[in-house]
Amino acid sequence: MKSSLISAILKVIILLTIGSLSIVYFLLKNPANQIFIPQGEIDATKYGFSLRTSSGEQFLFGFPLNDFYYHGFSKTHLLDKVLESKRGGVGEELLTTIKSVFLNEKSVKISFWGGNHDGNGEIIYRAKYSGNKIEVEKEISLSKNFDAIGQAIVVCSGCFVADDKERLYLNQGFLTQDVVEFATKMNLVPLIIGENQFFPSGASKIIVLNGDGKTVMQIPTYPNEQVLLQGGWNILEFRIPVQSAKNVKIKQIIYL
């Protein structure tokens, strides 16, 4: 009787172990460094962090050697040299897997360590996708204080940049008859700005429209955030002011 009870308990322990091993593997297996979303994909690898549309167009690319910080109005790359890159720790990846499977919340993360002429630094890129929203988070730790962080977003070719104040932004030389007709059709007011001229304040979001007037992307802006348009390169540049510090975490939300 006693031995059959011990045998039964041992068997239950074996069963629980088998099941637990499978469940732990299921939860702990590294989440992918690439997530597919209905509108495209998000990659986070040692080569950089990028968001692409379904047709392969890259509209956001993050890499410490390309991204920059501001000290006053001078721009400097976050890092000059990347020494190491890495994804999250076990606990963080466990949480990522649980959220991905049960809450349909997908995320990727990549960290870079390296240096620039001021010293060493760490840059962490995270992207979280849920519903039709991508939250791109940058966590920056440098050896020197900085006042603002820059982020570039590529605007699709043939697309237009507007805001929620019904303004359509164009650089000098881009105002054509087609653009005027488009603005009229969409009830927008064309506004010519220089390539180094910030958008006027007041807008709470930047809207990217395709040639048919359909919204491709909406980017809510911070209260003091400044935006530049480089129409020749199809680039929108966001300058996000921060309290002068060596460490900062900022979020950019993009609605697709």
């Binding site: 039964a8 088998i18 499978s22 469940i23 593997y25 297996k29 379904s54």
Partner: protein
Amino acid sequence: MILDFFASLSFYVIPYLIGRFFTKNIVISWFAGALSLFIVYFGLSQIAVFLKINFALSVFIPVVGLSAISFIRLLVGIIKSKNFVKPSKEIIFMLIFSSLAYFLIWKRNTPYPLVLNWDMYEHLTLANLITQGKLAFLSTKLSDTFTFNSYSPMFQILLSIPKIIFQRNLLGIYWWLEFWQYLLTVIASFWFAKRLFGDKLIALLSALISALVFESAVAYSPLFLIPQTLVSLLTVFLIGELKNIKFRFLVLAAIVIVIMHYIVGLVCVAVLGCIYWGQNKNILKRPNLAILASFLAASALIFVNFKAKWDILGIEEAQHFNFPLWHKLGFLADWYGVGLTVGFIIGLVSIIRSKDLNGKIVLIFALLLLGLSIAPFSYFLKFYVLGGYFVNIVIALGLYAVLSGLPRLWKILGFSWIALFLVLTFYKNQIIYKDPLHFNNLETQLSFEEIKAGEWLSKNRNANTFLISDPSTQYLLEALSGVNTQGGAYMNLETRLKLISINGSFDPIFIKNKLLEIKDELDETAYKEAIFAVGGRYFAWQNLSKKEKESSFYNIWSPRLTSSEDKTFIYFLSKSSSFKLIYTNDEISLFKII
């Protein structure tokens, strides 16, 4: 959807009905019927050409006629004998459980008629050609979508039957066929284990593992219907019936298995031959020694991974299907979950300790086929499509060793616990497989707009039409419409380079001339009409690197929307005098090259 449900049954039922003219054994009659159809098709294709009659009609009449006679005889026999099949409650439970897993997990975001099986389209292409009376033993002679011959058109002949009889597009029929294949795999696992060990719990465990372990790379059992999965399913049914089969029928079945898939079929026949010969000669006098020998053989095959690697020369994609050892072990971990390794070890120990010969034979083949699957040769992971049945039984025996002796309630709880972690493993495994296949809140390789484009092509174009696009678009549209392309997804390098050269060009004459240089490899005679298909997939393919575009391994696996930039090019083409827009929707536009 309902019509396709019934039409799909004919793929399995008609060979069985025709085979009943030769034997009453269910398994052998299917083989006999399949082989008869194979031979008859070749005969009828020659007769149809000679007499200039419609091939499909020449197949329809005898197949339907004979099937009807056989069915009536079967019905009369059943009524007279009053021998009605009563499935056991365990089978009914497994069928319900498996159906729930299939539709609630696997097909949850893949509604009718969308599919997740990329290989399927080449079989549709061949089946479509066969319904037109085009038949050859070598698949490479029928369509340049096939770059090497790994099987005869046996599978596609059987696939053409529902199309000929019911006159329906095979896409929706295939959606149901894969469900039947899945259920039959579960039934085969249950039945095979029950035959060997006579215990319902072992059979249930084996069926449960088969239902929830998706071999999501290369092997693709139990969720895909392709020649290799059908061949291994048939082999398992045959092994279970070996004691009741005469040698001449075994030879007949072996022929069918080999011509359905040469390489996997040969391994299946080797396993069948060993078991058949072994049972007659009773040669396994020292079974544990045989287990040790197979363990050493498997270990040697696995060890070779550290020393060398062999790719098939001349086939570019072959190198991509020769994975490093740790990748293959990772696949097994993804399919089974790590915990079932413990189940396998317990099963192995309990088999060695027991006197049951059947268990030892299963273990020997499990080890040998596992070793063969993991050997460092291109495509060898395909052999797991048969190996999986044996490995699953070993694991089932291991879990049975743990559950046996427990009180009934604990057994039920234990079984439920096993089902739970297997469901979680299956859920995660299939999520990983489907990750690149998201489109418009669906999980699919094909979109409804692409299906519409295929249907339009099918109705409005003919045998003199030639379609040109990126590899994936060609592959899908050829399968959906029957319109010929150069190689489908396996277009040759020359064609790829021509398509690459037109990327970014806005010179319509240059584009037109380059496209018109593309020819079918099997028939270079000038076609009457060429159609250029452009859409989200085409532009996404053109955005790949040159190296990726030159390779047949990289495809755009899921549908894509056309972007604003894409539409600029489509607009430009529509305004040129060299191209005429004949069809368009949100994802794809078809241009006749003038």
